[in-house]
């Protein structure tokens, strides 16, 4: 027999975590063999649904005439509010959203019902022939108008510390201003889709492209008037989510299920891309008013800030989104005397929802704008002003919501990026260049990110997993998280592989399924790996423990002496393969599967005052971006980007870098080319990729360099890692600040007011205002 020492010394291989394993589905995806909901072989008799949309922003719904639609080829039925056997209101937290509009409509694109037909195109054609009789009422489209009219989906919230009025009054310098920042369409490449299959005895199988299968289960059951156990929701993967499939996928699944329920047939609902734009919510547009006092160094001495979130026609997740915006106004900066008023405005547009960052970006951008303006007002380098306001380590380290920042790495992280990106030299060089360049002006900005990790709704911070070891030593993991491209399943395979000491390829993930792990939280808030990775780790650990006990008993040693590594299990006396051990253990009736459960420690907060410790830890990062603008047209280009980001001890560096790059480019899109345009009637004019422009290959900066900050999470998080889904998104604020820097260079007064996104038109406006 091989002694364990000899074995370990001789053939040790790297553990699965910490290496850049390719995405667990990559080989299938590149071959077109990875299945998305619309690719699943359809059950015989499957029908297709298409939504009937309101064409009026607000009005009284007087009637629906589907007589023409019903006579059209292939049409099998029309499903309206009266066909809902359960509650006509969706089972959302605020219970304010009708499943299908009845009595009133509140936005253009609100769904009144669905038409079901043999084919998708038949259903879509017929849906347009349904006449919806609406008596128009005055509508509110603009968020500032909503504030004036006190039109809210939820009551305003104020967070206040110290004496901001005095801090402003006593300050040697003061600024006030306003800012408007646009929303953002998720543009997941796979549009919203749900497929509802009625099973025997009023049981249901729902395929949903969702980040939150448990909520889909709950909503479907609620609408059908059933208990949750009658509904199973499954999702193997999504073609992108970004928050857009957190609640929004539920609507689609409910509509499909209601149609399937009425017609007693399987029904699939796949939204056409234009309908997806018209129906589903987006990132909340925000409007801001602020007043700030500051000293000669640019240090903020008092801040009064109003955040008005455009929530659309219902609450959806707007409460927590607006909360997170409040929590992130500080970004990296200590705000001693501060008042933040948060309005959750009701407007007659799509009901805005979760989107990567979840209000965090909207909170941070206004603070970065204020600091940029302070620097220009004082004639100082914006980085110096930012640094003067950074959180301290021992003092100036408590947030405006009373959480002590314990893991602050801002100073060393920003200092390193400042050096590697040669920020100072380039700033001087750009100033000299600008002086000689009549039309093109360049700008540069280095901005930090500090992002709180945990669901702000504390109860969401729990997760479950199942680890099954089969008798051949292969391992299947199931957990409550969903895969939307972020590499969650890959990371969890790595974690479980290491826990059991088996190679990566021995571990597979099965589709997320409410009948396996129940009551799972949404895969959101960047927490997928933190929560589900730990739960899976605990599940695997329990199986390992049982196996270790079994080996210990046989080899007469302590269980801790049994080592699992490299697909082998070694005790003091013997080394056997994992497969052999599993087979032996099975025949000795050892349980080879287990559950695992995790809940995040330390967190708590009062949702009425927004004070406490909402976050387990913070993720940090910084980006230095250089841009050029054309002062004749307002066109711009991002030339050079350097990023240093804190992912803790990375479980998979390639995946983490992928999240950082992808998040950054998506954030850049939010602030540059992606403009949502609603006309005065509340009609979303940019409802397709022909008019709504996400970044393309040509927008990638010529120089785009990303590095990871190598330091383990100071809190006990899985593998020492940090969440990485959302924080990099906000690194793109550096692009927007660089654009403002370039615009300021073209203005004689050196000041600049620019709304986001910085389209060519908005940049030109900023040059002339």
């Amino acid at each position: 027999m091989n002694a364990p020492e000899k074995f370990l010394a001789g053939t040790a291989v790297a553990p699965a975590t910490g290496t850049s394993h390719i995405h667990e589905s990559a080989r299938a995806q590149v071959a077109g063999a990875a299945t998305y909901i619309d690719d699943i072989a359809e059950v015989r008799g499957t029908l297709h649904a298409a939504p009937i949309l309101s064409s009026v922003a607000r009005g009284k719904l007087r009637g629906v005439d589907a007589s023409e639609a019903r006579t059209m080829p292939g049409v099998k039925g029309v499903i309206l509010a009266q066909d809902i056997p359960g509650d006509r209101i969706l089972a959302t937290f605020t219970h304010d959203e009708p499943v299908f509009a009845f009595d009133t409509v509140e936005c253009i694109g609100q769904v009144v019902g669905v038409v079901v037909a043999d084919t998708v195109m038949q259903a879509r054609r017929a849906a347009r022939k349904v006449k919806v009789d609406i008596e128009p009422l005055p509508a509110i489209v603009d968020v500032r108008e909503a504030v004036k009219a006190q039109s809210f989906v939820l009551p305003p919230v104020t967070v206040r510390r110290g004496e901001p009025e005095q801090g402003i009054a006593r300050a040697p310098h003061r600024l006030s201003g306003s800012l408007d920042v646009g929303g953002q369409e998720h543009f997941y490449l796979e549009g919203q889709v749900g497929y509802a299959l009625p099973l025997e005895q009023d049981n249901w199988w729902i395929y949903s492209s969702t980040q939150h299968p448990a909520e889909v289960q709950h909503w479907v059951a609620h609408a059908l008037g059933l208990e949750n156990h009658a509904v199973k929701v499954e999702c193997r993967r999504m073609g992108g989510g970004f928050g857009g499939k957190e609640t929004q996928a539920g609507h689609i699944a409910v509509w499909a299920a209601l149609a399937a329920n009425k017609l007693k047939k399987p029904v699939k609902l796949r939204l056409d891309r234009d309908d997806d734009f018209m129906v589903t919510g987006k990132r909340h547009p925000f409007a801001y008013d602020y007043e700030v006092g500051f000293d000669d160094d640019g240090k903020v001495t008092g801040l009064k800030l109003v955040l008005a979130a455009n929530c659309g026609w219902s609450a959806d997740l707007s409460g927590p989104v607006a909360d997170r915006a409040v929590f992130h106004v500080d970004n990296a900066y200590f705000l001693g005397d501060v008042e933040i008023v948060s309005y959750r405005c009701k407007t007659n547009v799509q009901s805005h929802t979760a989107f990567r960052g979840f209000g965090g970006p909207q909170g941070m951008i206004v603070m970065e704008a204020i600091l940029g303006d302070i620097a220009r007002a004082l004639g100082k380098d914006p980085l110096d002003v930012r640094r003067a306001n950074f959180y301290g380590i021992e003092e100036r380290n408590v947030t405006h919501y009373q959480m002590t920042v314990e893991d602050n790495i801002l100073d060393p992280l920003v200092a390193r990026l400042e050096e590697t990106a040669e920020y100072r030299r380039r700033r001087d060089e750009i100033a000299a260049w600008n002086a000689r360049s009549p039309v093109i002006k360049r700008g540069i900005a280095l901005t930090p990110v500090k992002f709180g990790i945990s669901f702000t709704a504390t109860f969401f911070n729990q997760a479950g997993a199942l680890v099954h070891v089969y008798t051949d030593g292969s391992v299947q993991v199931n957990h409550g998280g969903t895969e939307m491209g972020q590499g969650l399943h890959t990371k969890i395979c790595q974690i479980v592989a290491d826990e059991l000491g088996v190679p990566f390829h021995k571990v597979r993930i099965s589709a997320t399924d409410t009948s396996k792990v129940p009551n799972a939280s949404a895969t959101a808030a960047s927490s997928g790996t933190d929560l589900n990775g730990r739960a899976a780790q605990f599940a695997a650990r329990q199986v390992r423990q049982r196996l270790a006990d079994y080996v210990a008993e046989k080899q007469n040693c302590r269980p801790e002496q049994v080592i699992f590594a490299n697909g082998q299990v070694s005790g003091p006396d013997a080394v056997i393969s994992f497969e052999q051990l599993v087979d032996d253990a099975y025949h000795s009736r050892v349980q080879l599967w287990s559950d695992g459960f995790y809940r995040t420690p330390k967190i708590h907060y009062d949702k009425h005052t927004l004070t406490g410790r909402p976050f387990f830890y913070f993720a940090y990062g910084a980006a230095c971006s250089e841009v050029a603008i054309d002062t004749l047209t307002g066109e711009s280009r991002v030339l050079k980007v350097d990023i240093l980001h804190d992912a803790g001890t990375s479980i998979n560096p390639a995946i983490d870098i992928g999240q950082i790059e992808g998040g950054f480019i998506q954030g850049m899109g939010w602030l540059t080319t992606e403009q949502l345009v609603w006309n005065e009637k509340g009609y979303l004019a940019t409802h397709a990729p022909s008019t709504y422009k996400i970044p393309a290959t040509g927008d990638v900066p010529e120089h785009f360099h990303v590095e990871l900050w190598h330091e383990a999470n100071r809190e006990d998080n899985v593998g020492g890692s940090k969440a990485v889904g959302e924080p990099p998104f906000m690194l793109a604020i550096s692009v927007w600040e660089a654009l403002r820097d370039a615009a300021a260079a073209a203005r004689p007064d050196g000041r600049v007011h620019m709304d986001a996104p910085a389209t060519a038109e908005n940049v030109l406006k900023a040059l002339q205002a």
């Binding site: 850049s20 390719i22 995405h23 589905s25 990559a26 995806q29 590149v30 071959a31 077109g32 299945t35 619309d38 690719d39 879509r124 998720h186 543009f187 997941y188 490449l189 549009g191 993967r237 073609g239 992108g240 989510g241 056409d272 891309r273 260049w433 009549p438 039309v439 093109i440 491209g485 972020q486 250089e626 050029a628 054309d630 004749l632 047209t633 066109e635 280009r637 030339l639 995946i655 870098i657 992928g658 790059e661 992808g662 950054f664 480019i665 080319t673 345009v677 004019a685 990729p689 022909s690 422009k693 393309a696 290959t697 040509g698 990638v700 010529e702 120089h703 785009f704 060519a760 030109l764």
Partner: protein
């Protein structure tokens, strides 16, 4: 009316499909009829590239020409007689991945994976057109050729890496001779049958004109990059379609002493190649026209006939003094392009007429040509404002000037007043300023989701200023060509 059988070559096999409606898209046929769900629908309008597949047919020199196209807006019948590859067709029989796929895996180019099949197919097109011909895939080339594929996850860097990684992997080649032989069989069989039924695809000009006269109600299509959207988005149904893209005479680019004649069935890719050959400064403008899959399918004739006020080829063609030739069995008409349009998406075409040729004058000595496009996104976008100025300055005087504009009126237009104001005048700063003012007053653009009227007006004039500066030799004043290297050396 019966529709004809569609026959194409895939995976070395002949695929025959019968009873396919004339307005059924290739993507519907792939996903629904053939149950090949590897190809995805992302937008249904040719803007995201998730549905990209590759078509090939022998070119003028007999070798296969590969074209990545959007299957979501391409009519299925239009691939009759071609070879088709989808993402399911690249891996070897043993499951070994094609370099286009392997490179994507190795470079971590796939996250959610939904755009991936489209990217893989665009990469396959690049592989066949560049790597297999021994041409290096540069970063620039990769950005150009992938501009019609959107990814929302990766930020593109790993995909651009993958494009460059392909050539480092063991070469995999298509058995072109076998494909060509199969296509030849299809062609021979096709020639025995005249075009009839619900999908008419004549092979010669006389046949086209006869069919047009006989079926004036048939929907004329070329690359279908706009008409495809009438099907997918406006839910229009066409009982009969007349496809001009197989007409041999109209697939030609013919060079004459004083002009180039571009047939109405010439793809935008080939048409722009012909224009860029004469005027290299148009290369960037050409690359910014939609994305490659749209340029590979769409035709210059289609863009012209369609007559969108924001179609990007017309301002250029108007500035160059291009003529359009219309044909019917009654004869032909030849007119300046701007005279072709009578109103918003309206033109002078008679029911039995088709757009046959676009005649573009050769460059004149001393011609100074600039084409400016302002859009929200650099690539694959439609312009908010497009201005093309073509001037010949002789002895400090404007000897000739052609100005075409888009996005400022109901049709693409010639800036007649501005041209008149400039013609014969000394080319000075004052003249340029005057031209700027005239240009702004000549058009009353509208506000829409692309830009406000005020911005369009303002920028139209500013672009004239840019033109002035460029005639004065000022460099680095256009971000279109602005790179980091320029940023460091003003």
């Amino acid at each position: 009316m019966e529709s004809k059988t569609i026959r194409f070559v895939r995976r070395g096999e002949l695929v025959s499909l019968t009873n396919v409606p004339p307005d059924r898209t290739l993507l519907e046929v792939l996903r629904e009829d053939l149950q090949c769900t590897g190809t995805k629908e992302g937008c249904g309008e040719g803007d995201c590239g998730a549905c990209t597949v590759v078509l090939a047919e022998p070119g003028p020199h007999g070798a296969l020409e590969y074209r990545a196209i959007n299957s979501c807006i391409r009519l299925a019948h239009s691939v009759d007689g071609m070879a088709l590859w989808t993402v399911e067709d690249l891996a070897g029989a043993d499951g070994s991945l094609h370099p286009a796929q392997e490179a994507m895996v190795r470079c971590h180019g796939s996250q959610c994976g939904f755009c991936t099949p489209g990217f893989v197919m665009s990469l396959f097109g690049m592989y066949q057109n560049h790597v297999c011909k021994g041409e290096a895939v540069t970063r620039e080339l990769a950005q150009e050729e992938l501009s019609g594929n959107l990814c929302r996850c990766t930020g593109y860097r790993p995909i651009l890496d993958a494009a460059q990684e392909m050539e480092n992997l063991p070469r995999v080649s298509v058995d072109e001779q076998a494909v060509i032989a199969q296509l030849e069989q299809l062609r021979a069989r096709r020639e025995l049958v005249p075009s009839s039924g619900t999908y008419l695809d004549p092979r010669s000009l006389p046949e086209l004109l006869a069919l047009r006269a006989r079926h004036p109600q048939a929907q004329v299509v070329a690359g279908c990059t706009d008409v495809g959207l009438w099907v997918t988005k406006m839910h229009m149904q066409f009982p009969q379609v007349l496809d001009v893209t197989r007409v041999a005479e109209l697939k030609q680019v013919e060079r004459y002493d004083h002009h180039v004649a571009i047939g109405a069935a010439v793809t935008l890719t080939d048409a722009f190649e012909a224009l860029v050959a004469d005027r290299p400064q148009l290369k960037t403008f050409a690359n910014r026209f939609a994305g490659l899959p749209v340029r590979n399918s769409g035709t210059l004739g289609g863009n012209v006939a369609n007559g969108s006020p924001i179609g990007d080829s017309m301002p250029l063609l108007i500035a160059l003094g291009a003529h359009v030739v219309l044909m019917s069995e009654r004869g032909h008409r030849d007119m300046p392009l701007e005279d072709f349009y009578t109103g918003y998406r309206k033109n002078v075409l008679a029911p039995d007429e088709v757009v046959a040729w676009i005649k573009v004058p050769k460059p004149a000595d001393g011609e100074f040509l600039r084409a400016y496009k302002i859009s929200k996104r650099y690539d694959d976008d439609i312009s908010a404002v497009c201005l093309v100025v073509n001037a010949r300055i002789q002895d400090g005087v404007v000897a000739h000037v052609g100005i075409g504009a888009g996005g400022v009126a109901a049709t693409p237009v010639r800036a007649v007043k501005t041209e008149a104001a400039l013609r014969g005048q000394p080319w000075t700063l004052d003249a340029a300023k005057a031209a700027t003012a005239t240009l702004r007053s000549e058009f009353q653009p509208i506000s829409d989701m692309r830009a406000s009227a005020a911005y369009r007006s303002e920028v139209l004039g500013n672009l004239m200023q840019r033109f002035w500066l460029e005639t004065q030799g000022l460099q680095h004043i256009n971000l279109e060509s602005f790179r980091l290297a320029e940023a460091t050396t003003p």
